[in-house]
Amino acid sequence: MLVLLEDEKMLADSASELLSSVSPVSQQRALRDESNELGFYPEVWQQFVEMGWTAIPFAEELGGLAFSYKGLTAVFEQVGRHLTASPLLSSIALCGSAIECCASAEQQNAWLPELIAGEQRYAFGFDEQMFHDIDHMAITAEVTSDTVVLNGQKTMVMDGVGADAYLILVKQKDGFDLYRVPSDAFGLSCARVNMIDSRNYANVTLQHVTLPIAAKLNETTLSQETIQAVLDVGRVCLAAELLGISEQLFATTVDYLKTRVQFDVPIGSFQALQHRAAWLFTELELSRSCVLNAAISLDEFKAGHISAHKLSREVSLALYKVSTMTDKVTTQAIQLHGGIGVTDELDLGLFLKRARMAQCQLGDRDFHQLRYARTIIK
């Protein structure tokens, strides 16, 4: 069903309500103005934990709620609307899913409950270049009988500053390995990277970081499909966040068209602008269908009803459509606001900057268009 069910709607409504009160957009502005190192407020993150949002997709025996990804993405849509900064994407959607998919039962029992409870915060290092690409990396892992030595660098690690541990992805000849590295490991250093959305990104350098072999999550090499399916959870969350950002910007812009008077009439009475707004509306609605569909695909994949191949197609469709739409909505939001639109007084710029980062983080629209095409033509 490409609609939110009753309990999913309740979840979205409660997210909207809470974020309006504890995390208005003014908070994003404050984070930027004070050059906040962490890029989010721990007290807000604590509220996420208390609301149970960190537990949504995980099994009950690990402290989760065994609720749907569709529900989780409904929360992310609200996160986008309110421009809320939190480690929900990095620590829960990405690292949580990686542990759930790749780690042993023993490791899951040891790590996931703490993650869900917000007692530990993980960050995921996968990219090494200035664009999203896990097929080309230089990091090495030398494995002996009881230790592993990591050498290399991960870049743009989301919420890397202040994380308790990192999941580090290493490419092997025939797949991937995943290691858990505590932030206090000898040889690990973390440097903040300042990006336009003022969120928390880090370059994480690993110099001869020596760990017991138990730091490795997977027993057998992880396939491309497995890792992509983990990243796909994050991708759908990003798509939902972008949808929320665009909805909010579009609503603000339509309001402005109704109230801004020039030539003695509201500018929204001009057909040229009406048609632009109407086109943006259709793009928003098309994207919404794709995001809902991708979220449902995550649930279906987890239940074993669809293949990783189909999942990748539905997810890339969503990010491609939503990213293309967000380009149009963000640029038109500013253009239609005119002079005031380019000032820092309005929040448009904050939304724009977060949107552009989110559009890059797990593959830009070019990446997703090609990935979609490859699911059809080899």
């Binding site: 509201p266 009406q274 707004a277 459509k321 090609l370």
Partner: protein
């Protein structure tokens, strides 16, 4: 009778009366049009037509006294479900039943209902629609074709355009000007016999070739007074009702007369093979973008259905469907032309295959789709005004 009993009875009746060959997708050219002279291509078509007619199920929800099936909404839904379950073809196509019928039921006099509805319900009359005029397209209310009150009858002078199957129809319902002083409030709805003296019909050739569209000319055409539907000058209100029914029936119509589906994928494959292009070459990229847009549209159509089932319908979604679908299709044809080169530009004969020639024709026809049934610009106006509630312009609009 309980609904379950009705379902069982209906299922049994259909099992006996719907011929096997009428349970397949309907090929173009095999549509049956109800008319004074119905043309059947085989006996099964005729048997299916007659069975449904005698049951009153051409118009299952109409009262039985006017030839309908007398079903309540729940029963009608069951009938639709059972027809769909066996993939039954529509026994006939009839604009009268879909469009004029509901308006007659609501606004017609008892005498008019007795006169027009039973023959309509038996599929004996083919109806066409006289709305647009050469100077009244998107701005329909600016029609000028005048119906002058001559005391004991009306006299019509002027012309209608874009009347589908005007040359094959028995009757027309249409809007005509009855007051030249006011715009919307000077329009009336009439029905008239297409054999009336003074009517000439000329089919319109399109850039795609022969078409069903006609121009209809009226030269001192006499129309009896009791052919006026509703009150004098109430026509605009009734026309809006008719157009609502048009949208509903067009969506029904669309389900079984979807044009040949032209797919981008084989064209992309061929392009990549013959021109040694990669997936990231410009044209394949554009074509994949179009495929993704189409995928997004299909998901949105699915969402619209799901929202209806979940009773969360959002009128905004309905308003974008025609716009998006027709614009996407038109764009798709342009891409197919780009991908296929000369293969998509043949006029007739060798070396072109039937599907190739159909593609060319489909492309030329696609230009019609973003104009007919409310142009894309009108659709955008509607979204801006009804959904986004943007203010009206001071004039025009």
């Amino acid at each position: 009778m309980s609904l379950d009993d009705f379902r069982q009875d209906t299922r049994k009746w259909l099992a006996t009366h719907c011929p096997e060959s009428m349970r397949t997708a309907i090929p173009e050219g095999e549509l049956v049009w109800g008319a004074s002279h119905v043309e059947f291509v085989n006996d099964d078509q005729k048997a299916w037509f007659n069975a449904m007619r005698d049951k009153g199920w051409f118009c299952p929800d109409w009262p039985t006294e006017y030839g309908g099936g007398g079903l309540d909404p729940a029963q009608q839904k069951v009938l639709e479900q059972e027809l769909k379950a066996i993939n039954a073809r529509p026994p006939q196509i009839n604009l009268g039943i879909w469009m004029l019928g509901p308006v007659l039921l609501e606004y017609g006099t008892e005498a008019q209902k007795q006169r027009f509805l039973p023959p309509m319900a038996r599929g004996e009359v083919r109806w066409c629609q006289g709305f647009s005029e050469p100077n009244a397209g998107s701005d329909l209310a600016s029609i000028r074709t005048f119906a002058e009150d001559k005391g004991d009858h009306y006299e019509i002078n002027g012309s209608k355009i874009w009347t589908s199957y005007g040359d094959k129809s028995d009757m027309m319902y249409g809007v005509f000007r009855t007051d030249k002083q006011v715009k919307h409030a000077g329009i009336s709805l009439f029905v008239l016999d297409m054999k009336s003296p003074g009517i000439t019909v000329r089919p319109i050739d399109l850039i795609a070739g022969k078409s069903a569209f006609c121009e209809v000319f009226f030269d001192k055409v006499k129309v009896p007074k009791d052919n006026l539907i509703g009150a004098v000058n109430q026509g605009w209100e009734l026309a809006k009702k008719l157009l609502q029914h048009e949208r509903i029936s067009m969506s029904k119509f669309g389900e079984f007369t979807l044009p040949n589906h032209f797919s981008l994928l084989p064209a992309i494959r061929e392009y990549m093979a013959t021109r040694k292009a990669n997936l990231d070459a410009s044209l394949p990229q554009q074509a994949f973008a179009a495929m993704m847009d189409e995928h997004a549209f299909n998901l949105t159509a699915q969402r619209m259905k799901d929202e209806m089932i979940a009773k969360q319908s959002n009128p905004g979604l309905m308003s974008i469907m025609k716009l998006v679908h027709t614009e996407q299709e038109k764009h798709k044809f342009e891409l197919l032309l780009d991908l296929l080169g000369y293969q998509a530009l043949g006029q007739s004969g060798a070396p072109f295959s039937e599907p190739q020639l159909a593609l060319t024709k489909g492309w030329l026809t696609s230009f019609t789709t973003t104009i007919a049934g409310g142009s894309s610009e009108i659709q955008l106006n509607l979204i801006a005004k009804r959904v986004l509630q943007l203010p009206d312009a001071k004039s025009g609009g």
